[in-house]
């Protein structure tokens, strides 16, 4: 196989990366050795990477992992046989490489899909090398050992699937059945979510634990709201009410300007991006819920989201409350007074009419 990349990773950097990946997957420390071994094993699985309706952001995200350069790691980790953004070849030579890889590695390669698949009008809206996305996918999918949908577009349809979805864009799981599919949603997802998934498969020869949307639990098992650094501000009721206001400047919770954290399962607040420790909320933009099929591109970025599993705020009720209860309201008091008054009045009238002679007239 042609190796279109240069290698050049120091052993130290390599092990560091394996450590990170191990930790990210939530595995115990002892697993690092296994992960490193798997990464170096000569039986590197071939990877075929297809691009459809996408912005290439996911590939770009992968390229932004700088420690070490991901290009080198992919060289050692997997055999990347086809990747339109990164490969040197093009044209019919590239397409032949794809076909050959599919044929030779039947049942062994990991198919990575980036971008959504248009289904309207037989999918003419996305054609690569003369083939529609549907055709390409139906050719590459059957022979794959596993399929990884990287990005929200490949997972659920993404931005092109937003109303009215004129191209009929859908995610991979809507097109392919009977194949193990792992969704790594995000717009883009953290590259390390993808990387660790590949490492996991290679190490343990099985799929990581997935949630009911096919996402690895180690990365998508918890809501942003539950491990966000601004949660104490939420609990204390300190919010940014408008972009640029005082609360915003002080870094308060962004719930009221539309943060979808309470409805979004992801690890952005922990993993962060670009190895710089930043993520949208940390720089003052509310989470847009890009890992959720029902949130991003389906709801307004600035609409407040419903919070499930409410938790107590930062305030406390007083231990002893002095005055409470539903006392008298004017209307009821009035009516009761009226009825009582009427009864008293009737009683008084009756009393006047009753004879006040002792005994009755006929007493002896």
């Amino acid at each position: 196989m042609t190796r279109p990349f240069f290698s050049g990773v120091s052993r130290r950097d390599f092990l560091k990366t394996c450590m990170t990946a191990t930790a990210l997957m939530g595995l115990p420390l002892e697993a690092v050795r296994r992960v490193a071994e798997a990464a170096q094993s000569p039986g590197r699985p071939p990877v075929i990477w297809l691009h459809f309706q996408e912005c290439t952001g996911c590939s770009e995200s992968l390229l932004r992992s700088s420690h070490p350069t991901l290009a080198s790691l992919i060289l050692d980790l997997v055999s990347l046989d086809y990747q339109e953004t990164l490969m040197a070849g093009s044209g019919e030579q590239a397409e032949k490489a794809l076909e050959d890889s599919i044929k030779e590695n039947r049942g062994k390669y990991i198919l990575v899909v980036e971008g959504a698949i248009p289904t309207q009008n037989e999918g003419v809206y996305c054609k690569v090398g003369g083939k529609t996305a549907l055709e390409s996918l139906s050719r590459a999918a059957p022979g794959a050992a596993a399929i990884v949908s990287i990005g929200t577009c490949a997972s659920y349809g993404g931005i092109q699937a937003a109303d009215p979805n004129p191209t009929g864009a859908v995610g991979v799981s809507n097109v392919v059945n009977q194949k193990p599919i792992i969704n790594i949603p995000g717009c883009p997802p953290s590259p390390y979510n993808f990387l660790s998934t590949i490492l996991y498969i290679q190490t343990f020869k099985k799929m990581p634990v997935l949630d009911q949307l096919g996402r690895p639990m180690f990365a998508y098992g918890r809501r942003i709201h539950e491990h966000c650094e601004r949660r104490p501000h939420f609990d204390a009721g300190r919010f940014a009410e408008k972009f640029g206001d005082d609360g915003h400047r002080q870094g308060f919770c962004l719930y009221k300007i539309g943060c979808k954290g309470p409805a979004t399962f992801a690890n952005c607040s922990v993993q962060r991006f670009n190895d710089t420790g930043t993520w949208p909320v940390s720089v003052g933009h509310p989470c847009i819920g890009c890992t959720e099929p029902d949130v991003v591109f389906k709801t307004s970025i600035f609409d407040k989201v419903q919070i499930h599993s409410l938790t107590p705020p930062d305030t406390y009720p007083a231990a002893v409350v002095e005055e409470k209860g539903k006392g008298a309201d004017p209307l009821t008091t009035g009516v009761v007074g009226l009825v009582a008054g009427a009864a008293l009045g009737a009683g008084a009238m009756l009393v006047k009419r009753l004879p006040k002679e002792v005994g009755d007239e006929k007493s002896d």
Binding site: K326, T333, V336, V339, L354
Partner: protein, 416 residues
């Protein structure tokens, strides 16, 4: 001169203006009860976790059943204290008692949060014998049955009078049989209220720290029992006077004056025991000179009952007018006592507030209106009231011979 006591339906038109007024309030009340079942208790009431019992239990059940103790009070007077000349008041008192208790039961079901589980009260395996409420529930239900049986002679008499072929013949044969066993039920009708009226007091024995010390005492059962007795006599005076006024009949002043004596004595005993109890517990100062709203409520209760008893003792005040006033004083004072224990003095350390919500209040009014409505309709149809004597016609029999004839006729023991 040896006439049987005659009872006959009052007759007259049923659809009077008064009836429509009562019907109006009844309909409002019962519509709100439907709302209560549809939307929950909180939608119609101001009861909260700190005041879990409101006016439905305090008035409709606790005070309402005391107001319905006329039958009990009269029965004691007639059968135990040999006061046979009061016998003519029994039927009317029984009818009022019956309605009072049935509607108290209905109020309970309205107030019960999980009313669909009420069948558990009938399952002996679920009975928890330390519960005063269990006793109250079972006793009241039995008492309603007893009251019904005690009222059965009236219905049978009516059926016999109707001449409805087989039905009337059945009534003819059944009535004497009923007569023979009726005494057992009458005595039961004196035992049961003794039990459940005192149990209404027992309900609050356990709220040791929650009922204000002016009212919380180990003698609550006794106080509630005595209270229901003098209240009962007050109610009989009220009922009899009202009937006489509304239906233009003779005021049974002599009879009532006798009754009044009994009520007055019981009220005095009650007052003395209350003071003794307060002194024994060291709360006299708190009660009479506390200076807060609890002391005030106690003083009002005390003075009302004291004033009522005082008036009843004075022979000069044994006119229809003053008997009525005294009766009302006993009733309001006695009722206030129950309100003090159940509501006003409850959870007094918390300074929390409770005042009935408008729908809650109107439901109570509706139920009371229904009670009067049913009573007025039935006394016109069924032979409940003693046959009318014409007070203003010349030549009508004088009172003493009338009394004698009543006593004599009672020896033909058909209809208690």
């Amino acid at each position: 001169m040896t006439e049987q006591v005659q009872y006959k339906p009052l007759g007259g038109t049923i659809f009077t203006r008064g009836l429509f007024v009562l019907l109006f309030f009844t309909i409002i009340g019962f519509s709100l009860i439907a709302v209560r079942f549809w939307k929950g208790i909180g939608a119609v009431s101001n009861m909260t976790d700190v005041f879990p019992l409101g006016i439905w239990i305090t008035y409709d059940v606790a005070t309402g059943t005391a107001l319905a103790c006329g039958g009990y009070a009269i029965a004691l007077l007639v059968y135990i204290l040999n006061g046979w000349h009061y016998h003519s008041l029994m039927r009317s008192a029984i009818l009022l008692s019956f309605f009072g208790y049935i509607l108290a039961g209905f109020s309970v079901v309205t107030d019960l949060g999980r009313f669909w589980n009420v069948y558990n009260i009938f399952m002996p395996s679920r009975w928890q014998f330390n519960s005063a409420l269990l006793e109250v529930a079972l006793c009241i239900m039995t008492y309603c049955l007893v009251l019904f049986i005690e009222f059965l002679p009236v219905i049978l008499e009516w059926i016999r009078g109707l001449g409805w072929g087989t039905v009337s013949k059945f009534a003819d044969r059944f009535a004497p049989k009923l007569d023979r066993v009726l005494i057992y039920f009458i005595v039961l009708g004196m035992t049961l209220p003794t039990m459940h009226q005192s149990s209404l007091g027992s309900l609050f024995l356990i709220a040791t720290s929650k009922v204000h010390p002016i009212w919380h005492t180990m003698h609550l059962p006794l106080f509630f029992l005595l209270n229901c007795l003098f209240l009962g006599y007050g109610v009989v005076v009220l009922e009899s006077t009202l009937s006489s006024y509304i239906f233009d009949r003779e005021y049974e002043v002599r009879v009532l004056a006798g009754l009044a004596g009994a009520g007055a004595w019981i009220a005095v005993v009650w007052l003395v025991l209350r003071i003794a109890d307060l002194a024994w517990r060291g709360r006299l100062g708190m009660a009479f000179a506390g200076g807060d709203r609890y002391s005030l409520s106690f003083l009002v209760e005390f003075l009302l009952i004291g004033a009522g008893a005082y008036c009843l003792f004075k022979p000069k005040l044994h006119s229809a007018r003053w008997l009525f006033i005294s009766g009302m004083l006993l009733i309001v004072g006695g009722g206030l006592y129950r309100f003090n224990v159940y509501l006003i003095g409850f959870n007094w350390t918390h300074h929390w507030k409770y005042f009935p919500a408008l729908p809650e209040f109107l439901i109570t009014v509706g139920i009371v209106a229904f009670k009067f409505l049913a009573y007025f309709v039935l006394i016109k149809i069924l032979p409940v009231l003693p046959a009318k004597h014409e007070p203003h016609l010349a030549g009508s029999p004088d009172w003493s011979s009338l009394m004698q004839s009543k006593i004599k006729s009672s020896s033909n023991w058909h209809l208690p």
